[in-house]
Subunit: 325 residues, 2 copies
């Protein structure tokens, strides 16, 4: 591979001049610039980003850890994070933790060894504390950790309220919520609080169920939903804490001969692709994943420039009405 | 951030000794090793992977370019590539091209500047030719480019044959195929060839439709499917060239009052998560995405060690029977 030195030699200029051409810095005559560019092209020269990064002690790379890449929520989030990063000339180093704490710690060490510009955590276990002393900006998305630089989440509490209000307005009298994972405290738990509060105020019956962790990891909620529906036969309105769960509620209801939306109305959460691909399509609470992604990248960028960033950001959600209600 | 020099100073040993401890190379007494490790821990020392990469002229990073991260096929592929890469201590640098040729070229230049260990291309436009001289292993997945090191694909031709055979065995007499993009030559086109061949042999009527590029980019096939079904009212069996299209066939059929599988039988392609989330679930042709991912990473690894790798690999597919037939 051609080096900067090779280009300088062939162009008959100094290495400093070639460096100036590459970085568009200092005065260079148009003639010299053209000659050097032509030689770079001819020799297929590619600047060594590693050497540059080594001198500034960090790269243009942002490390991202998610628990499941193929989960529709994380697939959308990764898509939007990559777009927001590319806009600001950052690259995404992507790691899937499969919810294994030791894997997450290993990835974080790797990020530090590779001098990432920032870290985005969407996974439950990691304690960011250890990394606080390293001055690498850490952004949490939809998880809580007060040692991190910043936490970005949707307004989960109001999302739960909107779901309850909508189901009650549709005439439902007996509501069921398929909620988060037992024993894990996540921002998403707020959905259940907002939901039950509205039900209580309206005097509408409301049952909240939680899944165990193995169900969340497998992404297969069939048995959990089936047992929930069998124990709550009078239910006429369901709020699922993700569109992934809502899609499986449609499957189980159909298998049980229960029609959606005629007999049971259904609201999901996230507003990811799956909500538009099921039959019927899913009414859901839209989480502003794109805006969350843009803000995450912006905050890393600001933090690297030494600017202040908020420690907590909560973004508004909204109800998207589709065929399931 | 603590440097290797800082650790050496505090431990009272030379930098070479610290380096030996880190790399587990050369003779070091157990006592020295313990002391150095304790100081590293105390100072929260993280080895600088950039400096190491600079000396060997490439990183442990594999650049991946996909056209759409949130497309269910690519979400699964990225998931499996990340797992296979992590297994061999590689990291994934992920780029979304949105099918824009200029973005792809820019990403490839960036990969080279960052000295990636290998490149995996799943996007249509890029010509790998330019990068041949750089000796970076390039793997194509489900795309064709004879200048790349290697192309991995599923046996698309036999996939098409299996779909036709299955629909005919289910009693279908009038088949319709929602195929690839007009004017693009992709390995996936082989699905249509295999499909029509079996129909011809069996004397079963068969129509093949192709979408235009804007439909593929939007991932919204509704209008395309609707017009196809309205022009082919006698159809009793459909083969969709992705599960994403198949999910939308269910939606359009339901809206038109056509029941699946009672009136029309449906087979998809890919076997990604969406095929198990629709109602009814989708009978599909399973593409071995996991195995394709493992082989891609293995081949990059082998190529870096100077071993020979095949220029073409085609992996077997199989029919997965679900509720849509």
């Amino acid at each position: 591979m051609a080096t900067l030195k090779d280009v300088a030699e062939k162009s008959g200029v100094t290495a400093t001049t070639v460096s100036r051409v590459i970085n568009n810095k200092g005065y260079i005559s148009e003639e010299t610039r053209k000659k050097v560019r032509a030689v770079m092209e001819e020799m297929n020269y590619q600047p060594n980003e590693l050497a540059r990064s080594l001198s500034k002690q960090y790269t243009n790379t942002i490390g991202v850890i998610v628990p499941h890449i193929s989960h529709p929520f994380f697939a959308k989030l990764i898509n939007d994070l990559e777009a927001a990063a590319a806009e600001k000339k950052y690259k995404i180093l992507l790691c899937n933790s499969n919810e294994q704490p030791e894997k997450e710690t290993e990835y974080l060490d790797m990020f530090v060894s590779n001098r990432v510009a920032g870290i985005i955590l969407c996974s439950k276990y990691v304690k960011a504390e250890k990394f606080r002393s390293l001055h690498i900006p850490i952004i949490n998305i939809e998880r809580e950790d007060h040692m991190a630089a910043m936490t970005i989440q949707g307004d989960n509490y109001n999302g739960g309220r909107m779901a309850a209000k909508h189901l009650i307005e549709c005439g439902c009298k007996n509501l069921l919520h398929f909620g988060g994972v037992i024993g894990k405290h996540m921002p998403a738990d707020q959905r259940a609080y907002g939901f039950t509060e509205v039900c209580k105020q309206a005097g509408v019956k409301c049952t909240v169920l939680q899944s165990d962790e193995s169900v969340y990891d497998s992404m297969n909620y069939h048995a959990y939903i089936k047992s929930g529906l069998e124990k709550n036969k009078e239910v006429d309105g369901i709020f699922a804490s993700s569109d992934l769960i809502a899609a499986q509620v449609i499957q189980i209801c159909t298998a049980m001969g229960v029609r959606i939306p005629e007999q049971v109305k259904l609201v999901g959460f996230d507003d990811v692709m799956i909500a538009e691909l099921t039959t019927p399509t899913i009414t859901t609470i839209h989480l502003p994943i794109k805006e969350m992604s843009v803000m995450s990248i912006e905050c890393i960028d600001k933090r690297l420039r030494g600017e202040m960033i908020p420690s907590n950001i909560s973004l508004p959600v909204k109800l998207i009405k589709r065929e399931s209600t």
